[in-house]
Subunit: 413 residues, 2 copies
């Protein structure tokens, strides 16, 4: 059954989502996109038309103005557009209001990152217990599917973990999720997604799951170099990340860590801004008496991540290094994807980071439309069958590969 | 004749000025201090009383609330306090309104830094032509003395240049003004005076006077290490500075440069903030629609310079390296002062940077009171006789020394 889709948000990820939904509008039906600034939505739809991404060329793709913090307005728009699936790729601050609207208006809900409270950074672990999971019963009662964290990381990396569990291991001891952007945007400094959300990831403590318990470290305290396919040897630092908070609960794996690649420039900028207090989410008062959140000013001066796309070159490598046992023998595999910034831009007008986050969310929407993932409750991606998801991603732009020892090959289903 | 003094401002320099005026209130008469925040003025007067700085113990020292951007209010306060000398050590944005009030109410005017327009950075050279010098005739007509830039640099270093011209050289080819703060405030990062004014010094082009013309460079483009008395070998960078803009006009010297000492930490912080656009004086708009000047937010998160004083250790070395000819022979002298942060704090409750800026301004006020510098027009310090000024500074805390070849000795008058 065709299902209308409402996309919320109008940044780089929304642009990818719009293109991918359009390419599959024979399955999805009418498309709608809404954000606070309708002109951004219009620009995205114009790009979709310009690139002839609409599979059903005369299909509907409409734009709307929406304050998604307003539950009633969001529910009203879901009803008006007859949307059966809401793809929430707006700010992480909107998740809970959009979820409420979906429950009220009976639409499936998909997001790509955990809910955040603007005034709080790094809440208690597991993070999903703070906002999402307490609402599972509500979703079940309303009979709506809510897929949490269906981007790349979290999202595809959770499916990789599930795939490892199902197909490659009897017992898993370690999952190291590694996220390397080996691309070059040519700017002195820029973040690849919303700077506010980006920096907020790193201003708190670094939580990891080790020896089956939460472990706390400082940012940039633990460094590890990895020899990776295509992008070569890269430096990463242990960081906190959403997926550890669901995988630690849903998988019986004692060690789950997340490693993010950082260049020297990022570390210098982060260190200066953080030490000066400019990454704080707490308001300060200027000498003139104006109350302002420093991090929001940092965001205002940095390049719009969407603006990086045209000149972005290079590739990303994101995957799960999984260790454990199979048939009584030690085993180690790296399940991963390589994405290319220039190819992402040519196809969708967005760079590779937006591409890797947006494409999986659309894959999740397609699997809800086909019924394969329409589970009528709230789930994280590792709770869903990984095969249909990864098979679909193989076809629509994010193919999975596996490296084991000297062998490196595509994963096919 | 005793002259009442009105101090405008209530920061670290104002605190030094208050103490030094109090120590000389037998010459100066009633003292008044005014700023937007009267509580800061009261804290300064309390410190003066606590350290028993009042020479005439039962002398007057009153506090006032004043918006010094308001000419009429400032003139009214000058009249009310019967102030004959206004020591303007408030923000550099106030200079022209305070000068207007002095002209209107017939009081002598002293400042320690050039006037700045909040919306402009690095205006055309010579800087004094933009605001101050066009008003010289007004001062002359009103019969008031206006001494511009009577801090250390500008101020004492201008007097050093005049001293070199009068006593040490027949002809000067080069004046290199060197400002090294070899102190340690123990913070990760802090500016020694108002961060807004501090960073504004370095965000524009670097103007120097070379081969009798204005020369432009980038900040941190030209580095020079100096072997200096007491503080040893120190790294400096060519920077723009007020005094070049008057010395180049008032002295017949083809090369006048300014060198400021910077540590690695300062350069890193400055480079990051400047490259990101966080030092901009131009407002940006946050995603939430709030208009805010990034530099004012940086100021808001940085430590209050006055708060650095208690733990500040080490010394400053500021002086003029002068090259030229005397009696047909090449000559090179370094005329300088060494100030100590801890001694400055013990005496005035402020650190050394505030001390070196504030004490000369009070010396200028004393020389206006005694008539020696009461010239009834607008002047820069090098246009005034240097001997009484430097002799007075020898007595009140900033002794002058001279190094020539292997000889290094006090300059006495």
């Amino acid at each position: 059954m065709k299902k209308n889709v409402l996309i919320i948000g109008a940044g780089g990820v929304a642009q990818v989502v719009a293109h991918k939904c359009a390419q599959n509008n024979d399955i999805l039906g009418d498309l709608h996109i809404a954000s606070r600034t309708q002109s951004k939505c219009k620009a995205i739809v114009a790009s979709v038309k310009e690139k002839k991404s609409m599979k059903v060329a005369n299909g509907v793709f409409k734009t709307h103005t929406l304050d998604a913090m307003d539950v009633a307005a969001t529910a009203a728009l879901i009803r008006k557009t007859k949307a059966k699936i809401v793809l929430n790729v707006g700010s992480a601050f909107l998740n809970m209001t959009v979820l409420s609207a979906c429950i009220e208006a009976k639409a499936a809900y998909i997001d790509t990152a955990i809910h955040e409270d603007p005034l709080k950074v790094c809440e208690p672990a597991p993070w999903y217990d703070n906002y999402e999971w307490p609402r599972r019963e509500e979703c079940k009662k309303a009979g709506i599917t809510a897929i949490l964290g269906a981007g790349f990381d979290p999202g595809v990396v959770n499916a990789y973990a599930a795939l490892a569990r199902d197909d490659y291991f009897d017992k898993i001891t370690d999952i190291d999720i590694i996220d390397i952007n080996a691309g070059d945007h040519g700017r002195w400094f820029a973040t690849n997604f919303d700077p506010e959300i980006n920096f907020r990831e790193f201003t708190g403590q670094v939580l990891s799951w080790q020896n089956s318990q939460w472990t706390s470290n400082q940012m940039f305290e633990i460094r590890k170099d990895w020899d990776l396919p295509v992008v070569g040897t890269r430096t990463s630092y242990m960081t906190g990340h959403d997926e550890i908070h669901s995988l630690s609960k849903n998988l019986d794996v004692p060690n789950i860590r997340f490693w993010m690649g950082f260049g020297e420039r990022y570390i210098t900028v982060f260190t200066v801004l953080n030490n000066l207090g400019l990454l704080s989410e707490k308001p300060v008062k200027t000498a003139e008496g104006l109350e302002v959140v420093p991090l929001k000013v940092v965001k205002a001066v940095l390049p719009d991540p969407a603006s990086l796309a045209p000149g972005y070159t290079g590739k990303t490598c994101i995957g799960d290094l999984v260790k454990g046992e199979k048939n009584g023998k030690l085993r180690e595999v790296f399940i991963y994807n390589i994405a290319d910034h220039e190819e992402a831009y040519a196809e969708t007008g967005s760079q590779g980071i937006s591409y890797t986050a947006g494409v999986p969310a659309v894959a999740a929407a397609l699997l809800i439309a086909t019924g394969e993932w329409d589970v009528k409750t709230m789930v994280n991606v590792e709770e869903l069958p990984p095969h249909p998801f990864l098979a679909l991603l193989n076809r629509i732009g994010l193919p999975t590969r596996i490296r084991e020892g000297k062998e490196d090959k595509p994963v096919t289903f």
